[in-house]
Chain length 290, copies 4
């Protein structure tokens, strides 16, 4: 099941991938999912304090100017005072989206763009985070914690059947352009202190089902969306299937407990990443409008 | 005109300010402004390449891993390859929002929170960027380039009368919770190479009018929202009136040309900043849903 | 024992402290300690990989350009290729020197310079690392691992009597301007994975003895020179006695095993820190010329 | 004139290059050049404020903790207070040494080490800055400002004949292991505001002469040691001749005015770079002992 790839589907120059599946009419239809108008942030706290796997750089925030400077005598002309800061972020820490330049196989990125476009000095000249078009679309929550009665056990694979059951719980049919959010309970269970290793997550079977139904975005409340460890003989096959072959961005480290508690499975989903030029990912604060 | 301040208005502990003015019913009503479903990003390109005033740190992007590593022989188990990067950002560069900890006068921040909460090590323990609740509300474009027939001249003040005229062009009445976006043409005119100095922008008169009408957010396509230089005897009075006295976040460096070209003055406005813990601002990709 | 302080001893403007004790004649005399001409580095590996206590930022190195860029097709005019990088360093990680702005008590730094000189934006306007004059002087190794027959136990205090015995083992008298290096074995024992907590180190008694003998520099192979925890009712008293009251810079995290293995207790000591403007410390590669 | 290369000269694994030419007996002999014992730093101020060419990142210093925190009420147990900072440095800014991994041609670094060792993630696994052995050797100042009567004009090449004349002024013969420091006056003339472009500097002819005399280190008071622009049909030929073919580290941006004013042409030269693991260069504070 599932197409071989989406390469060429939206033209030889395409850098947008499955986000193409959300057009204005999709957005307009999605807005009808709003019932109460309540807006929920699906982002974890970002910056210093956000957990990162050991191989990535921790975030830091440096105060370039703060109240202490005034306490020590800095001038405040006409009473005006201000504070500023600089932050350092791994683009793959906290709640973030993987740009289509993040993962590939062989010499080509998604849509046959040469991998040689991803370099030290210039960063990702193709498929960088600034190409991740913001979208507003229908969101569907697949709540496996609710289905399972508890956070999923380590290394539980999430297959097509779980997704089908999730859509049934949501009482809607899969629709092109959907944003599918998967709650595994990993973040709630691990308190943010565990990363890839042993995380429950999407299997290749599940990813193929999502692609076959033309979803635009896939997100989860774990560190890599997909189940770890990867099945023998494969390495991050879901990343390759979704990002590389089909141009589906992945949103990682979502905060889904509050959304789950609302009881809403279908909602307006807003995706507005920071257009970091040449980056392979971006922090993002996805929203659910209930 | 205008209240003395909003301190205490939403309780002694409030750190949310004028964003409180957007509740679920405001959002639900705002969604009705959507006509076509087209989604526009109002963010300038971010990260390396984004202009910063000379006194702030330039952004940098460092590729922690990229395609060059594979070209040199790095292992790609089962064909899997990836790239990652780290970015450094001044939180007051590019399209960003000023958190309520950014500006104050005397020893107190907005709502009488002690300025001693804004320190080197812990950052902003009160009113940090993580307190900027995301909102979806009605957006109104005040297009002064259209009204003037050209980008505003340097140091042009934008007063209440201009805002009133702008609302008339938009054919709506001001409403509590509105997000008001002011197009001065500064960015288009300066090509991003000029900053505070001499920018046209909001006057204190204009700011007072906005507060009197209970707007939730104010943004502009210049570097500091307000006109520069400040009138004699004042320093950034609009920052103090909006951020400090009334808790109205400011969105700076908006990209408004495409929105202006759409002809739409009223739209659904989406604000979803990154919850950077303890920061005095955050990059943001505001959206207009047409 | 020990003077009350060195404040005013070298003038009211002095920012050099005990490094004043090394003049040209001291250096010329010290050079006579050279016997074989062998040069040893006393620095641990620096940058990424250097251990830092949990409350400090880890170092990072980012390759701005590297061989991978050429493997991917970057131009190499006339065959010329190059690589460059940017590093981020906590100035109190790895082998480093504490500048005299690093520690103080009350409102005044060493020599009555106002603590208000140490701020966010400008850094240390007084007593910054750029004031640490390089010196070449006589070095004396106090090898407590040799004396004890093993690395010192956790929290062992090093008193005047140990220093006296060390000088006796070195068969020289204390002399003004000496650089005294104390080998506790902490680094060798802890493999760089333990920091302040429970480290053996200099006691206030030992520090007073060093000051009474007008040493110019004190270094050790542990993270804070002084014993931890501090005695009840005191907090880093050796830092205050040496840095704050007497202007004696501290060199921390020295690599002393190779020097110890040489059998030499007296040698030419070279101290050439990086003049980081406004920093409170500096990485340094101290040398012993045998 | 000049050997083809030093590849293999010190063994197939060598990563030390011309620094091998300084052994213990060279150092011992060099120490005899000390006459007065005065110690001069040859380093420019480092860190924030140090000029960098436009294509490199500016340095920044961030105060992680400072006196302002105490002014705002941070606890100071038993009166102890401290300040700390983090710095970001381009390793090729300010007074620094080019490691042997900095420049090459084709697929091989100095001594046939594969260029594939210089990557994003691991940095320079061969010939990194941590391989730059500290040395103490004889320094010889070639003072072309004195010889010319003024700072050299832009793009003046420095040939063998100038070096020969400089050694004659110093009244010594070239000797294996010498550190040769060339004063062009570029820094004094440009006030640190000009970089590579048009700098006077060493020609290939001069570099060949230095290699033929087995110098260990070459430094200058300009940004790239060698004359710019490079002669037609070549790009940084002196970098390739010295670093790549002969393993001679280059010290750039030296501060030589004070040394020149001393009248001393021969002195003890101390080179103690920071062993930044995997970096392509290091900040350094070279010393002259007069």
């Amino acid at each position: 099941m599932g197409t071989e790839s989406n390469w060429g589907r939206w033209g030889l120059d395409d850098e947008i991938g499955a986000l193409n599946l959300v057009d204005a009419s999709t957005t307009l239809a999605a807005l009808r999912a709003a019932e109460t108008g309540q807006v929920l942030s699906l982002a974890q706290p970002a910056g210093p304090g956000a957990g990162v796997p050991p191989h990535r750089n921790k975030s830091a925030r440096y105060m370039d100017r703060n109240a202490g400077d005034y306490a020590l005598g800095a001038r405040s002309p006409d009473g005006f005072r201000f504070a500023e800061d600089t932050v350092t972020l791994s683009t793959h820490s906290g709640t973030h989206v993987d740009a289509l330049s993040h993962a590939w196989s062989g010499e080509e990125l998604y849509n046959a763009h040469s991998a040689a476009n991803v370099r030290s000095t210039a960063g990702a000249k193709r498929l960088g985070a600034e190409k991740l078009r913001p979208v507003v679309t229908r969101g569907v929550l697949i709540d496996l914690v609710e289905a399972h009665g508890a956070p999923l056990d380590p290394s539980t694979p999430i297959d097509a059947e779980h997704l089908i059951a999730g859509y049934e719980m949501a009482a809607v049919e899969p629709s092109a352009g959907d944003a599918v959010l998967i709650r595994t309970g990993w973040w709630e269970r691990s308190h943010g202190n565990e990363y890839f290793d042993l995380e429950p997550g999407l299997s290749l079977d599940g990813a193929q089902w999502l692609v076959a139904h033309d979803v635009a975005l896939v997100g989860a409340d774990n560190y890599a969306v997909e189940v770890q460890p990867s099945p023998a003989g494969t390495t991050f096959p879901v990343h390759l299937h979704l990002l590389h072959r089909h141009g589906v961005p992945l949103i990682e480290n979502l905060a889904l407990a509050e959304l789950a508690a609302s009881g809403r499975k279908v909602f307006v989903f807003v995706f507005a990443p920071i257009p970091l030029q040449g980056s392979t990912g971006s922090p993002v604060t996805p929203l659910a409008i209930l």
